[in-house]
């Protein structure tokens, strides 16, 4: 199940909210959330239910054992065991096929490439448990003592399937005690509807435009068309993923959880490093906190750690070489920016920095798009104006105009317009209220329009569900 689904919006969610809010105590509320979360997670795939329950049991026990063994050898051993189990499961389920294919390619063997079942949201909940175990070991947090609450942490449906990577340290307290006031509900519904609009109105239609080109085969697309399509694709990825994050944060807020932001207008960045401080923030901070300074590179720790992080970032996104290239591509430019230093970067005119980052980002999303390396080669040929299909396609001007409002809306929504307007009217209560009313009506309109568009719409699973 996903959030941009009529069944979710008009059957699952209302039922869940009603039962949740008529439940009198936090214990019952949590029980309701656990039950609905498990239903959500295992919808149509009952073995996922068994997996997540077992997985949570193992990590619950390990967390307790690590806490008890703090400062002792046993604590370290349990930590290593936990990392081995969690990361091992991630590797086995997600990367076995990839490794086998590469072994076959490298050594000319003919090992059977297994077709593995990949549990939904595996990469996300694996990282949540890894952070949980490490935080306990490093004494940043205590272990959860009550298993049902831990199961809720692992399975909480707003963030199970596609993040954000919520840490136990940030919501552990709210598992025990939380209140929901009018503002929480209001903000939650607003985020939910805005996120839904981003996904259904913008992302799905941007994808259709991009696929009209790349779906045919990138080799057949002219250079200018490729640029247009990959810009549109970049916007699609942003609205798809940030839309999902908005819905996750909004849903959590309705239930009284306060998740940290996962996106902060990433296309406003003026450097690649800044982009990654604004894009999928929960993943970036995870790698920063748990991997960047892993002492395995000796004196080259700083740069070694940097490339390790970007290798893993790429690998995390998918079991395919293009994702690894994609990660290292960003790693390379962050490395260059690091070498240049902040002072030199500051001296570069702002416009140049914007152009530089946007071009690199769009090319990066192209690398992200093409899992087939031949297609990736064609993509690079096209964007450097060596397309076999020529400079510009005959239909581009008309097609561009056919989708001009969508394109403009995509670009405009990358800017922090709402925060900017809010800042402008801050301190003027009447204007603030008026803005609130207008924004609320706008959000309701998004819900209505999204609902209409969802009727019989092709199911577009969230992009990030595959990770």
């Amino acid at each position: 199940m996903n959030f941009s689904d009529l069944f979710f919006l008009y059957a699952f969610l209302p039922l869940c909210l009603i039962i949740y809010f008529i439940s009198p105590k936090i214990k019952y509320k949590n029980t309701v959330l656990v039950v609905f979360s498990l239903i959500f997670y295992s919808w149509g795939d009952v073995k996922a239910l068994i997996l997540i329950v077992l997985y949570s049991l193992v990590n619950f026990a390990l967390g307790r054992a690590i806490e008890k063994g703090r400062g002792k050898k046993s604590g370290k051993l349990f930590l290593l065991l936990g990392l081995f189990i969690d990361l091992g499961m991630l590797i086995v389920f997600k990367y076995t096929g990839f490794f086998t294919e590469n072994i076959n390619g490298l050594f000319r063997t003919s090992l059977k490439v297994p077709s593995m079942w990949v549990p939904l949201g595996l990469s996300f909940f694996t990282f949540r448990t890894v952070s949980y175990l490490l935080d306990i070991y490093w004494e940043k947090t205590d272990s959860e003592k009550y298993y049902p609450d831990f199961l809720l942490f692992i399975s909480l449906f707003p963030c199970t399937v596609a993040g954000p990577i919520v840490r136990f340290s940030s919501i552990g307290a709210e598992l025990k005690d939380r209140t929901v006031n009018v503002d929480d509900m209001y903000q939650g519904f607003m985020r939910l509807m805005v996120g839904l609009g981003k996904k259904v109105i913008l992302a799905d239609n941007l994808l259709a435009v991009s696929d009209a080109y790349f779906g045919v085969g990138v080799g057949a697309v002219s250079s200018l068309d490729t640029w247009y399509a990959v810009i549109v694709y970049s916007l699609y990825v942003y609205f798809d993923f940030s839309g999902y994050s908005d819905m996750a944060i909004g849903l959590a807020r309705i239930f009284g959880f306060h998740f940290e932001e996962n996106f902060n207008y990433p296309f406003m960045c003026t450097s690649i490093a800044e982009f990654w401080q604004r894009w999928h923030i929960s993943l970036g901070t995870f790698f920063r906190d748990y991997l960047l300074y892993v002492p395995i590179f000796g004196k080259m720790r700083r740069y070694g750690g940097l490339f390790l992080v970007w290798f893993c970032t790429g690998m995390w996104h998918g079991a395919s070489w293009n994702y690894i290239f994609w990660g290292l591509y960003f790693g390379l430019f962050i490395f260059i920016e690091t070498l240049l230093g902040k002072k030199r970067l500051k001296k570069i005119p702002l416009a140049v920095k914007h152009i530089y980052t946007k071009i690199l980002l769009v090319i990066g999303f192209g690398i992200f798009r093409f899992t087939n390396l031949n297609d990736l080669g064609s993509f690079f040929r096209n964007i450097f104006f060596f397309s076999k299909a020529g400079f510009a396609g005959q239909t581009l001007p008309t097609f561009f105009m056919n989708n001009i409002f969508l394109f403009i809306a995509g670009i405009v929504c990358c800017f922090p317009i709402i925060p900017w307007i809010k800042a402008k009217v801050a301190g003027r209560p009447k204007l603030e209220t008026a803005l609130g009313v207008v924004y609320s009506i706008f959000a309701i309109a998004l819900l209505v329009l999204s609902t209409i568009l969802l009727v019989n719409a092709t199911d577009h699973p969230f992009l990030y569900r595959q990770y």
Partner: protein, 511 residues
């Protein structure tokens, strides 16, 4: 002020959540549709609960699918959604909306590669290059015939007075020796349908076959494909057809390349595409030596451009367009031809073709057209259909009259297949015309209705589609006593390698 703000927020929550609840109740209580008129399909059925389906989780996914697929007032939602979306996305220029911006031409090899047709040994048949993973042939369907039963292919003139079971087999073996199945990723020259899952009589709907899409535009209420072809492919097509002539010097070989509707009806801003199409048509004609007679139908179609010679909601020509071109062909071939005035004219209302169902031009659903078809006055015709991959008789294909040439009971959206059925069969029509001529048509889907206009012109008409035909064409020519061969397709398929490679495959397999 704070209280006022909180009140507004509370009001908003009540409004949103209340709205969601009311909608939820409406979705649950209101009557759910079971069919979609616009999509011409049955909607998802309500799943039945069973221990197995519960355990596997299938019940839940089916329930979700059912819920989403059968939303009450679905058609109204869809119409509103499509209308709003088309306005929100952008504007049309000169009334043009592009549906597929990439032209097929772009997928072609560069012309300067000069890949030419080279006959290859039959012992090592090579499927078309770049054939990818998509099998062109449909999965052979079970027939009512025992596997061991020889195909009923007659070399004798048809007995026009008795039913079609009297056809006398002239061989105990299939006329064509099966060769490896060709594969293709050609454009959808076919009606975007494949072999029917059920017989037409039972109202079965053919499965949809996915092909790469061509550039397509909606101009006003008419869909059109944009043209793009390669000279290299043209050379290869010419070589392949001339090779058939070389192999069978006694045959009369013809080529007919049918222009797309875009050649005549494009708006001014896209006229260059029509010009390119005409230039390529002329270039193609110039490539043929005297071995092959070219039937140039550009002027034929142009002279009837004010009549309905192309479908508006489908990428094919109309039967009327096919009639005019067959008339031109009959003239070139020197055979008699039945005038249109002798045909029984019939029509079906509410036709919406491939531009809606395949190319995604949703706006066309509100602008259906009338599909007109023509029943030949020759009632002595008997048509049989054979599996294109093994020549077993497809006795499950039953027409609406004794000729077995017409399928008037097909649902209106399949009207293009009324005459002579679909692409994935070998059709053999015995006409009793008494001209002493026998025609083999090697065609794409534009050829489908053409035999029905030649029932007074050739004694026997055999029709094969290179996308599905997997046997030896020279065996077929000799066993059927073919005197004339017509290569017929729309201009796309004679100028792009996807289809031309299949032509080559048919032509070379006897080497």
């Amino acid at each position: 002020m704070k209280n006022y703000k909180n009140f507004l927020k509370f009001f908003f929550i009540v409004l949103v959540f209340g709205g969601m609840l009311v909608t939820s109740v409406f979705f649950i209580v209101a009557k759910r549709p079971t069919t979609s008129e616009s999509e011409k399909r049955e909607l998802a059925p309500k799943p039945k609960m069973s221990f197995t389906s519960l355990l596997s989780g299938k019940y839940f996914t089916d329930l979700q699918y059912y819920y989403n697929d059968t939303i009450p007032n679905r058609e109204a939602f869809k119409t509103t959604g499509a209308s709003v979306l088309s306005r929100l996305k952008g504007v049309s220029i000169d009334g043009i909306v592009i549906y597929n911006p990439v032209l097929v031409k772009a997928t072609e090899e560069p012309d300067d590669e000069d890949e030419t047709f080279v006959p290859r040994a039959r012992t090592t048949p090579v499927p078309p290059e770049g054939s990818g993973d998509v099998p062109a042939t449909s999965t052979p369907l079970p027939t009512d015939e025992p596997e061991t039963e020889p195909p009923v292919i007659t070399d004798e003139p048809v007995n026009t007075e008795v039913n079609d079971n009297t056809a006398v087999p002239d061989t105990s073996e299939p006329v064509g020796t099966p060769v490896p199945t060709a594969t293709a990723t050609t454009r959808p020259t076919a009606t975007p349908t494949a072999a029917p899952a059920k017989t037409p009589d039972s109202g079965g709907e053919p499965a949809i076959v996915e092909y790469p899409k061509d550039g397509a535009i909606l101009y006003g209420d008419m869909g059109m494909e944009l043209y793009g072809g390669s000279k290299n492919a043209m050379k290869r097509y010419v070589a392949a057809l001339e090779y058939i002539k070389d192999r069978c010097p006694d045959l009369n070989v013809y080529s007919m390349t049918v222009p797309l509707s875009s050649m005549f009806y494009l708006p001014a801003s896209y006229k260059s595409n029509a010009t390119e199409q005409l230039n390529d048509l002329n270039y193609l004609e110039g490539l043929f030596s005297s071995k092959v007679t070219v039937v140039n139908v550009y002027n034929t179609m142009k002279s009837h451009v004010n009549e309905k010679i192309y479908l508006r909601t489908d990428h094919h020509w109309t039967y009327l367009g096919a009639y005019y071109c067959m008339k031109e062909f009959a003239s070139k071939a020197g055979v008699p031809f039945i005038d249109l005035s002798e045909y029984t004219v019939k029509s079906k209302e509410g036709y919406v073709g491939s531009f809606y169902s395949y190319f995604g031009m949703k706006a066309l659903i509100d602008k259906p057209e009338t599909f007109t078809y023509y029943i030949s006055p020759n009632k002595n015709v008997r048509v049989k259909y054979y599996d294109a991959s093994n020549f077993s008789l497809r006795s499950d294909i039953k027409g609406t009259d004794s000729t077995n040439a017409y399928f008037e009971n097909l649902k209106v959206s399949y009207s293009y297949s009324i005459a002579m059925y679909m692409d994935d069969v070998i059709s053999i029509a015995d006409t009793g015309a008494g001209t002493g001529r026998r025609l083999l048509i090697i065609k794409d889907s534009f050829g489908n209705p053409t035999p029905s206009f030649l029932f007074g012109s050739f004694d026997r008409i055999v029709m094969i589609d290179p996308r599905y035909y997997t046997m030896d064409v020279y065996d077929l020519i000799s066993s059927q006593g073919i005197t004339d061969v017509l290569g017929l397709a729309n201009i796309f398929d004679h100028t792009t390698t996807g289809f031309v490679k299949l032509y080559e495959y048919v032509a070379q397999n006897r080497e």
